[in-house]
Chain length 118, copies 4
Amino acid sequence: MQYENQRPIYIQLMELIKKEIAMGKWKVEEKMPSTREMAKIAQVNPNTVSRVYALLEQDGFLTTRRGLGTYVSNNIDKEKLKKEIVYKRIEKFLADVLFLGFSEQEICQMILEKKGGF
Amino acid sequence: MQYENQRPIYIQLMELIKKEIAMGKWKVEEKMPSTREMAKIAQVNPNTVSRVYALLEQDGFLTTRRGLGTYVSNNIDKEKLKKEIVYKRIEKFLADVLFLGFSEQEICQMILEKKGGF
Amino acid sequence: MQYENQRPIYIQLMELIKKEIAMGKWKVEEKMPSTREMAKIAQVNPNTVSRVYALLEQDGFLTTRRGLGTYVSNNIDKEKLKKEIVYKRIEKFLADVLFLGFSEQEICQMILEKKGGF
Amino acid sequence: MQYENQRPIYIQLMELIKKEIAMGKWKVEEKMPSTREMAKIAQVNPNTVSRVYALLEQDGFLTTRRGLGTYVSNNIDKEKLKKEIVYKRIEKFLADVLFLGFSEQEICQMILEKKGGF
DNA sequence: GTGGTCTAGACCACT
DNA sequence: GTGGTCTAGACCACG
């Protein structure tokens, strides 16, 4: 994985894992890779993974069982999660872009045009 | 003004001024307050204002005239810049969000729904 | 049974069994379930039960008889132990709490109030 | 300061600072020692202080201002804080001790006796 | 100088 | 082997 330099790695990794859960890469009740394994996969320090797992637990996505491992929480509504993520992005995107004087309609037009390539 | 704690103050101030220019608070070719004045207005360190002005100049919103002060750039640059910025944002946004399995149409639908508030 | 995630399971199980002994679920001189049985009942690893039984024996609540099993200790030891434990807890508790400027009388008042629920 | 070995240092330091705020050692709106200073005072690693400050901010006790420092939040009701701490301790203490079969009255009696020394 | 992030490496408690 | 804690030391963005 490639990390941008702007936002902290642990935030990027957190959002990546959220996305992956939303997309079904990690199933409910399934064991996540151990912190050390994930550290290798994600190419970061195990402590960073620890932090990410802790935050995801705080947010209700993961559950840790001492001495056993970290598991995907069983009370996650994947669809809800996906929508949540998308809405958050939209909100941020619009905040970024509306003040430049384009309307939502114009923005949407540009998005649909883009399909053909700028 | 109140600043959040999450994003750096200079970013928040920069976006505020952009918005104010877009909304006509600072007119084209008009002189901006000096860094020290703006520092008082915005309740930040003068160094922070310097930084903000420099970044806004880099983005084409402001123009510095030595010994005279900082002025709002003329319209043409702005329009060009706006489109450029919007396109860049859209590209990044779509890359982030299409990945979750929503189509451009669905995204646009959500954006337009959002106008009514989530 | 549900275990919290904060404190180690073996502590939670230990306190549960203590409570159960105090409340008469396991009678004095009665045989406790074997570690394997208890492991099934308590839904934990047999090793964890071993550890718990060992600690409870150390505290005088249980007695192991080789080849026979683990039994609830006789009453006398228990009473003695209880007072000892309580005194120790009180001492620690007061050290923690008097420091904040409350007197013993105030503390007691709060404790008695608490019976009605905070 | 002496740390027990049972609970993590960052928890102990967090509770200590809470107590100190409650007792007025650190006044409202006052700047806390920098993480590095506090690290020396508390004889721990600066990262540990960071963690403590972050948690205390999460709980609303502290406010960090980027590049400036960490400050005691201005919306703290010290008396309320003190009571909160004491109540928490009482709750934990009683949970520990009631199951041994003593009533609240007996506990209080022991506490008041203790004043004269066990 | 301030807090924030990250790494490497260590030790520990838990299962 | 698992997560949790802690240290030492580094680098960076911020004001």
